[in-house]
Symmetry: C2
Subunit: 280 residues, 2 copies
């Protein structure tokens, strides 16, 4: 197929690398000329331009810009495309955005390929980034079947695990397993950094090992990404945070009242309940 | 030297393996005859017995029983040992215990070799378990210099990183970087398990990836160990939990009021402040 990609960063670049390798012809658009050059040099696109108008030949467009630019991008794209062209996005929050984008462009289907690395930008793009990772499609009632089928087929070609769900369900699930962990983990770090006795702080730094390292990892990640998650998935994140505070309050009460059977029961639940969340 | 070890589990067995390899003669005591047999078969001890009286020839005793049995063990050991014999323990909580044990046995020095695996028991014992890991000694004013020097020398022979600190500072540091992470991480799991909509729960399980896996790891560990930490380090853990709840409250307020610069600032602090806690 003739594929367009707007935004040639980690996700857009990685989609391009794989789709080209599969025999598709790929047109890329980036705001920066240097990114266009690097995308061609890396083999992520066949053609690259700073001009959205260059996408007029394509049949499917992946919008891989930062989430805050998607509506603007699709608004500007419209005049350049045949109305039969299918547009999809890769945003990590779906919610009301899907309905708004579908109104803008009836051949739109929301998508979220869940893969990433700690790096950003075209240089971070990788082949086979999506293999065995979830690729969520979030059609709504008015989403056209042909749009769903076309993007689903491409996701399968990327060898991702295809899932379908309601856009709001997506946001609530992602708040629980992706956005809440960032806040939980960041708060662990700020609690440790808040230790007032410098001897104890230094001792804590010397004694910290794998438990601290793993629990604090996502809280020490990219600050801009954390803020963006919170901004765009605010309602679902708040609901998760309220529920989480309730769980912390329960543990505090158990330790305060020395309710050791109660604490044992919670920790038995977590020991048994974690594995369904882990990949086999 | 002539070394005694009471409690032949992961820690006691691993100390025995290394000290024997270094040329020390090791007497082991376990409550169970089968453990004594396995300790000899695995090369963790030269002599093994169920009788504390068998330790009368030794110069240093490592008490490696569960923390709740240390005082009882040292009380019973006393009548069998020359008063010049040095006793140390390996408990993960020190606090007031050190002063009480020093009263019981003036040649006592508190210790905490910080190493472990997910496994327990003599079969889990490993050579070189302590290499490059912290070994904390927690002398108090009345601790005898010869006792400190002797145990320090053995810890160095185990190639551990030797640290000295006040027993209460130890407990506060360990609460922050080891015991608090268990509670933080367990509460993440219970929050996810508490999702009332079964579709969203299943979706969360399908979508969870490395961020959830790492943040939830220590919360899904051994329940008995988690309860024991909370029981024995209750005051320091509660102080950490109160501070942590304050940090969660601050993040909730920032998300509620859409204070994105404030959230950005917190996440910049955590991104920069994590590395001093990580091993080089």
């Amino acid at each position: 197929m003739k594929i367009g990609i707007v935004g040639l960063g980690l996700i857009g670049g990685s989609i391009g690398l794989d789709l080209r390798a599969l025999g598709h012809e790929v047109w890329g658009v980036s705001q920066r000329a240097s990114t266009c050059d690097r995308a061609i040099a890396r083999g992520a696109v066949d053609h690259a331009s700073q001009d959205l108008g260059s996408l007029h030949p394509v049949e499917v467009v992946f919008v891989c810009t930062p989430i805050g630019l998607i509506e603007l991008t699709i608004g500007r794209l419209g005049s350049h495309l045949d109305p039969a062209t299918i547009i999809t996005d890769v945003a990590s929050v779906k919610g009301d955005l899907v309905a708004r984008l579908t109104q803008q462009w009836p051949n739109f289907v929301g998508g979220h390929p869940m893969a990433g690395t700690a790096e950003n930008g075209i240089e971070a793009a990788l082949s086979e980034l999506f293999v065995n990772n979830p690729y969520v499609l979030t059609p709504i009632e008015t989403t056209r079947p042909r749009a769903i089928e076309t993007v689903a087929q491409l996701a399968k070609e990327l060898r991702a695990k295809l899932l379908y769900c309601d856009p709001h369900h997506h946001d609530r699930a992602v708040a629980l397993i992706s956005h809440l962990p960032v806040m939980v983990s960041a708060s662990l770090i700020t609690t440790c950094l808040g230790e007032q006795n410098p001897d104890i702080l230094q001792l804590a730094q010397n004694l910290a090992s794998s438990g601290f390292r793993d629990t604090s990892r996502v809280g020490g990640g990219n600050p801009e990404l954390g803020v963006m998650m919170a901004q765009h998935n605010r309602a679902a994140l708040l609901a998760s945070l309220y529920a989480y505070r309730g769980e912390i309050d329960r543990l505090i009460e158990q330790v305060e009242t020395q309710d050791w059977p109660g604490l044992q029961s919670v920790l038995e639940t977590t020991a048994a309940g974690r594995s369904p969340f882990l990949k086999p």
